[in-house]
Amino acid sequence: MSQVIIYDTPDRSVEDISKDIKSKFPAVEVLKAAPKRLHLQVPREISFEVCKFMKEGLNFEHCSCVTTVDYLDHFTVVFHVSSWTNHILSEVLVDIPRDDPTVDSITPLWGGANWHEREAYDLMGIVFKGHPDLRRIMMPEEFKFHPLRKDFIVGRRV
């Protein structure tokens, strides 16, 4: 590459972007639209489409992280994606039921999510559909449990 890609001033504001998403996907709920932050609650069925629209239409080039939280009666998968062009860090929350912990993988969109999803599968047991290589990453291959779940008790102080 002989050219340097620069991100100095944001192209569009957070309000614009959240309006775009809301107009295209009415089922998405905007939890917070503060400067440089955009938090969305997305139903599981359209999570892949929303992420695809964010990547291709709204310039969200970077996937920072894929987290999972165990809320005893359901899981929540949190995708943190960043738009450097618009200076936004957005949080996409997807609730999934506990007896069917599957969600669409975003690895086809952002390769950076690959190991994060493997870790979520390993430690929390969430299956990402469409992931190219879903196997355990931290624990040994033969380990039977998912350690980060709240029902995996390790003792009072470890």
């Binding site: 440089k36 920072s64 995996f152």
Partner: protein, 362 residues
């Protein structure tokens, strides 16, 4: 003559490994056709462990995430906890934090340089960079009492005020270091064998780097000018004047060059921060239990973008604390950098990536 491809395990016990991880490479002769890093040997269950500790008990544990640049993680945790409590550190604490963070960045880069020296076979580079690092460890030891895991930031500020004459000492050290940095750079920039080992090796272009989630000096070496201290400023970085260092080649030499330039920029920031620090308190009181909610916070670690996501349920222990370590993603993005190069290039490519397995495995 038909030849076979051979899988070789480089690690987990291997002289060049910095930390405990395994790299499986498939070789055809001496050229790498496939590479697969394997981690998990140092997994300590950090995220599960902190669900069982109070917020202030986690502060020294955050140091141990990456022991090479421990202040950076300590600070990130304190910043995230302050957000969830809804408080802000006083101004003096913010300036002190910025100065100390940049000193930590210089120290971390010098540790990286030492690793690069050993990987490439030159013990001179190794001993010279450790010698320079001692200058900064003396400063940080004076401030916090420790040489490696400083435990200096607290939720709500910093632990103690700067010692007497600290600004004078820091300025003297930085002047001395600037002279020695020129010597150190000339040992490598004008060294023909060093250039033979680093120019054109491990190339990656900007678009691939962005897609694979790379951040930090590696991405800046591929021509993408993105620094979280400029894009999403935290603490008082918005008031500091410094340049973002980039390079366009995307090879090992570019990554080395970016980090050396970053050391110079960090020196500028330290001087400005200490000069502008106002007088005042250095800490605010913090209640026992934070309100319910979740926050996300990201900073520019010496290795890239590190992020913490904290969920609180109103009790004195966090419900979930997720750590995104830059090295985790950098390591996952390393196979495209390795394929097509020789096995002797592996120490050069992986060494210049500044690996710290503590934060990768958590």
């Amino acid at each position: 003559m038909p030849t076979d491809e051979m899988w070789i395990n480089m690690g987990p016990q291997h002289p060049f490994n910095h930390g405990l991880w395994n790299l499986r490479v498939k070789l055809k002769g001496e050229t790498i056709t496939q590479a697969e890093p394997i981690i998990g040997y140092l997994h300590r269950g950090w995220e599960k462990m902190v669900e069982n500790r109070t917020y202030s008990q986690i502060v020294p544990l955050a140091d141990r995430l990456c022991y090479g640049s421990s202040l950076s993680w300590n600070h990130l945790y304190c910043l995230t906890a302050e957000k969830i409590y809804g408080i802000e550190a006083p101004d003096r604490a913010k300036y002190i934090r910025v100065a100390v963070l940049e000193l930590q960045r210089i120290t971390s880069h010098l540790t990286w340089l030492m690793a690069v020296g050993t990987d490439l076979g030159s013990y001179t580079i190794m001993t010279w960079s450790i010698r320079e690092r001692e200058l900064f460890l003396d400063l940080l030891c004076k401030l916090s009492g420790a040489r490696m895991t400083y435990n200096y930031c607290r939720i709500g500020g910093v632990r103690s005020d700067l010692p007497e004459n600290y600004e004078r000492d820091v300025n003297r050290t930085l002047d001395e270091f600037e002279k020695r940095l020129r010597d150190l750079e000339s040992l490598m920039d004008e060294n023909e064998p060093f250039l033979m080992r680093t120019v054109g090796i491990g190339k990656m272009d900007g678009k691939t780097a962005m897609n694979l989630g790379l951040t930090g000096p590696i991405m800046r070496a591929s021509g993408v000018e993105m620094d979280l201290r400029r894009l999403d400023p935290y603490e008082v970085y918005a008031d500091m004047k410094f340049d973002i260092c980039t390079h366009t080649d995307g090879d090992v030499y570019a990554r080395y060059r970016v980090r050396m330039d970053e050391m110079r920029e960090s020196m500028k920031i330290v001087r400005q921060a200490l000069a502008q620090a106002p007088a005042g308190p250095i800490r605010v009181k913090v209640p026992r239990c934070p309100p319910k909610g979740n926050v996300v916070n990201h900073v520019e670690d010496p290795r890239g973008e590190s992020l913490m996501y904290m969920v609180s349920d109103g009790s004195e222990r966090p419900y979930r604390l997720k750590v995104r370590s830059p090295n985790f993603v950098n390591l996952s993005a390393s196979p495209p950098m390795l394929v097509g190069f020789k096995i002797s290039d592996v120490p050069a490519i992986m060494g210049v990536m500044d690996m710290c397995i503590g934060e990768t495995d958590r």
